[in-house]
């Protein structure tokens, strides 16, 4: 079995399993192309990721490994335990998403870049969750936005959106 090495932008290497790497569609398709052209061999595949930092890459790989483990558990467990397992997965994901807004930003970018659909869904859901129930000022504060609308413009938009608030 070929080893896969993901290299973060600072040169730090992470060896991951093929199973976990298959969750990253970008890496999976690279692997496929490689196998199609060169056939099976055991040279390690090194994928440099010049725009993913080590910390984020670590986090992404943590997700892939854990999801892979959950997937195996799901197929191995009897139907009766599925609900319990789903609860466990949700709890883990909730815990996993306890990150700062900046971290979340990097994570969503990496998930997009490496094309990990499940992580991307989780991240966008978490971002939406941070928007939920917030006033425009709170949204700005939470996501580091500078007010770019004039007070008059903001008032106009507020007025035109009043209907949606009740």
């Amino acid at each position: 079995m070929r080893n896969i090495v993901l290299r973060a932008n600072d040169g730090a290497d992470h060896v991951i399993s093929v199973a976990a790497a298959s969750l990253c569609k970008t890496v999976a398709s690279l692997l496929q192309d490689l196998e199609a052209s060169k056939g099976e061999d055991t040279d390690p595949l090194i994928v440099p990721l010049p725009n993913v930092c080590n910390c984020t890459l670590q986090k992404v790989l943590g997700f892939c490994e854990q999801q892979r483990a959950f997937d195996e558990l799901c197929t191995a467990s009897p139907a009766a335990q599925q609900a319990d397992l789903t609860r466990q997965i949700q709890a883990w994901q909730m815990e996993y998403m306890q990150v700062s807004t900046d971290e979340l930003y990097h994570l969503v970018m990496a998930a997009h870049y490496l094309n990990v659909p499940r992580l991307l869904d989780l991240c966008t859901d978490a971002m939406a969750e941070r928007i939920r129930g917030k006033s425009p000022a709170q949204v700005r504060e939470c996501f580091g936005l500078k007010p770019s609308l004039s007070p008059e413009e903001e008032e106009e938009i507020r007025r035109s959106n009043l209907w949606a608030l009740n």
């Binding site: 090194i46 807004t101 971002m127 939470c142």
Partner: protein
């Protein structure tokens, strides 16, 4: 030999990554320090949400409700555009009001192609509903009237047959007369030579207004004074009466008949109504029959049979539930 591959260029768009002290292996202390730095930042993020590429901002939208989208729109200039997202509002519309109909699409055109505007109009109409009735919003009304207007010619006579039977509530009756006023106001704007006539029917039929060109304020006053007849629902009689009124009009005039009714008739009356409609279409030219459902438990199938006499292909676009409650009247 280690094999190093480059990712496709497309994927190499630069993003702001966090730089660590360069080291070839992951060192736990680096991560620890990084974590601490990020936790400190928790209160004031350095990277604004709007730095996300558009496709990722769009990916957020399916998770947001109307009120959240609106709050987002107010936060900054870029998000005010993102929050308008036509595709998201279209799917919110579908989630709430079911699969899109042709009328929805036509109404959206009336709302300057904005699903958000149409969503708002439907939302407000629904909120005003007192008896859980399903009413058309302003844009949908416009779309219905536009369908009628498409049947108009240089000379047009429009006959409204209003159901005054016992099963029609005073509220339904108001809805019908106000629709007539709205439709006429709009039709005479596009077709100044459009004449209007109004008949009310129940067991019997009464000509409320014979075909004439009438100023809007007078028409409104006339409609306001109309008293409901009460009784059964004899649609056949009203179609017969409409036929008599239209007979005297110019041969080349477009003849539009608009039935406003719950369509609750028995099988015999239903057949009679279709027979009358067939005779009318046979004897006179340029006839178009529309049906608007009003009230509880509207019998759409009866009305469909009547409008189908003008051709089965047009029938689908000529029935509209104007203000209906989806339950039996008793």
């Amino acid at each position: 030999m280690a094999l190093s591959v480059a990712l496709p260029q497309r994927l190499l768009r630069s993003t702001s990554g966090i730089l660590l002290r360069s080291g070839k292996r992951t060192r736990p202390e680096d991560l620890q320090g990084e974590k601490a730095r990020l936790v400190k930042e928790k209160r004031s993020p350095n990277i604004p949400l709007t730095d996300l590429p558009p496709e990722l901002l769009d990916a957020l939208l399916p998770y947001l409700s109307p009120s959240e989208l609106c709050a987002l729109s107010q936060a900054c200039r870029l998000l005010s555009v993102v929050g308008e997202a036509p595709s998201r509002w279209k799917s919110l519309f579908t989630e709430r009001w079911g699969p899109l109909t042709d009328l929805h699409r036509e109404a959206c055109k009336m709302a300057k192609d904005s699903w958000k505007t149409l969503y708002r109009a439907k939302h407000e109409t629904d909120k005003m509903a007192e008896h859980q009735e399903q009413s058309l919003c302003g844009y949908e009304l416009e779309a219905v009237i536009r369908r009628m207007s498409a049947c108009c010619a240089e000379k047009t006579v429009c006959t409204f047959c209003i159901d005054g039977s016992g099963s029609v509530t005073p509220n339904d009756f108001r809805v019908m007369t106000s629709f007539v006023a709205t439709a006429m106001e709009s039709l005479t704007q596009t077709h100044p030579h459009c004449k209007v006539s109004v008949v009310q029917f129940s067991n019997d039929v009464r000509v409320e207004l014979s075909p004439q060109l009438m100023p809007m304020d007078q028409l409104r006053a006339q409609l306001g004074e109309m008293a409901r007849m009460n009784g059964g629902t004899n649609i056949a009689l009203s179609i017969k009466q409409a036929g008599q009124l239209l007979k005297g009009e110019d041969a080349d005039a477009a003849r539009i008949i608009v039935l406003l009714t719950d369509g609750r008739v028995d099988a015999f009356q239903g057949r009679e109504a279709v027979r009358m409609a067939e005779r009318l279409v046979d004897e006179q030219s340029g006839v178009a029959i529309f049906a608007l459902g009003v009230g509880r438990g509207v019998e759409k199938s009866e009305l469909d049979r009547i409008i189908a006499v003008c051709g089965p292909d047009v029938a689908a676009s000529r029935y509209t539930p104007l203000c209906t409650i989806d339950e039996a009247p008793w």
